[in-house]
Subunit: 340 residues, 2 copies
Amino acid sequence: MTTIKDIARISGYSIGTVSRVLNNKADVSDEARSRIESVIREQNYQPNSNAKKLKQSASSGIAVIVRGMNNIFLDSVLEEIQFRMKEHGENISVHFLDEAENETDAALQISVSSRPNGIIFLGGSPLSFGRSFSEITVPCVLVTASAASLGFSNLSSFTTDDYSASGYAVSKLIGCGHRRIGIIGGRLAPGSEDGISGRINGAVAAITGAGLPFDAGICYEPCSFSMQAGYDAAGTLLDRFPDMTGLFAVSDTLALGAIRAFSDRGLSVPEDISVIGFDGIDFSGFSSPRLTTVKQDIAELASRSVDDLLLRINYGRPAAHTVIPFSFIEGESISSPRSA
Amino acid sequence: MTTIKDIARISGYSIGTVSRVLNNKADVSDEARSRIESVIREQNYQPNSNAKKLKQSASSGIAVIVRGMNNIFLDSVLEEIQFRMKEHGENISVHFLDEAENETDAALQISVSSRPNGIIFLGGSPLSFGRSFSEITVPCVLVTASAASLGFSNLSSFTTDDYSASGYAVSKLIGCGHRRIGIIGGRLAPGSEDGISGRINGAVAAITGAGLPFDAGICYEPCSFSMQAGYDAAGTLLDRFPDMTGLFAVSDTLALGAIRAFSDRGLSVPEDISVIGFDGIDFSGFSSPRLTTVKQDIAELASRSVDDLLLRINYGRPAAHTVIPFSFIEGESISSPRSA
DNA sequence: CTGAAAGCGCTTACAG
DNA sequence: CTGAAAGCGCTTACAG
């Protein structure tokens, strides 16, 4: 293995000078720089990142904590993030948590054992921040839910406006003439306008705001984020709320599971019941029927988050909270209710 | 930050002894061990992994190289792998490559810059091994394609028997009476029985083995692995091969894209055309129609790969090539051809 | 502009 | 069973 010492020996300079050109420091003569650079190139030398990190006493790159296993939407964002990071020469270490685990506890453990330069929380809930998060000092960003109300100086966030987007989606349902609308997914957390709870609350607000009745005990069914969960929740909800004509699912995965549940009960979508999703995953454009849904801007969420984190790590920029615009995809899964 | 020095000072032992209990070495008195362990616990001490790795002169954990972006199947395997690794206290760094990149070139670069203890190749093609791989010396495992024929002593593999599984799938189509069968996905690589090419060749062998005609120039359409690619390839194939009654797609994602393409052309699946997939992703059980497909055993592929890699890293076990059994899922996407 | 030296936090022979 | 010491490959004041 060639080390910095070898480069120094071969180039005829000291390891201090080699280190300076490696790190693009000023105060190196052009001659030394070009000589050393050529030796580095011909030896195909790569610095040992462990030694570098040890010295700089911190940092094993960027850690990404993904909350929610097998979540197609989050996986897409993750891949986009890794791609952008790679462009900047940064490697990420990925940690998947299932929905039961707490992301800040995990982050604390990771930050003490691997000392990352920064942490990205993907799919986390702002509700679980606060407890252990205050012990984390490196720059962090929460993607997919707003951390604005949390007020941590080292936590940025990039998010779709879940509350408004859900409201918009549900207003489409109402606009079609639906008056008995159900909701599946997540858990109820009254008051919150962020993340999954924000979607639920935004949808509920749109329903009640239109003067329609909404009794959460009847019209809402909580569930986790697998297709099977969506399938089951839709069935349960329909049993309890048999004259429901429209359904808002807080994620596309749930919506697709729900559509299958309805069709297994002999109901067609959208003729018998309309379904609207959230996320805009690839598959929503290829299912039968194509899903009507809110599309989050994955590329923008990812790239803005990466840029923000890197700038904060390297230049001490203050944390910021940014809303990324969503778009609405007119699919084939909603129509006017039969009774209308 | 508390370091090993602090633990030594507080416990009254030397840092050498602390290090020994940290690493579960023998030759430590029970008394010292329990005293030191209790100090570690109460100080909530976590060793600095950079320093550890530097000393052990190698290794930043395990690197996973995933070839193929937005591949739902690979994402599932990846999450399973990370989960198993976590149980063993190992962190993984993930590197997504798009289909155009070469995985061994990427691995070489990663191994020289981050010095992983081991590398997992997910979704790579055995065809691209060989060139730069011989420069990589750490234990590696190829998941999802066999590396048996490559003969590298540091490369294990765990795979579904793609060739047989595809043959089995296609034989189901033939058993239903189909005689004009098309194939989409991947690229032609005659002779190979591994990975995606193995799927194609296994399918072709089943067709010709049944005495049916197969002209690759007409009946086969290559494509990459997105739903859109499956959609497009199915359309192209149908234009060229309009009396096709059955389609084998080398992945579920492609199959689902194909089904949508057919339905957009007014053909129903399976009444007008049968479709069979490969992978057994979650969604295949919830689409309309439910997809008939070959299900790879994700949990087994992941856990066996992890166990193998860890044992080889720590105990110098020889590399091995293991085939993991597949299962066949009877969905709703195939039936007898209308003409039969 | 450059070099010599200290030190990051660990592990591991080597003595005892 | 335990400690003192060397050294992993780097970076960074400090002199010059």
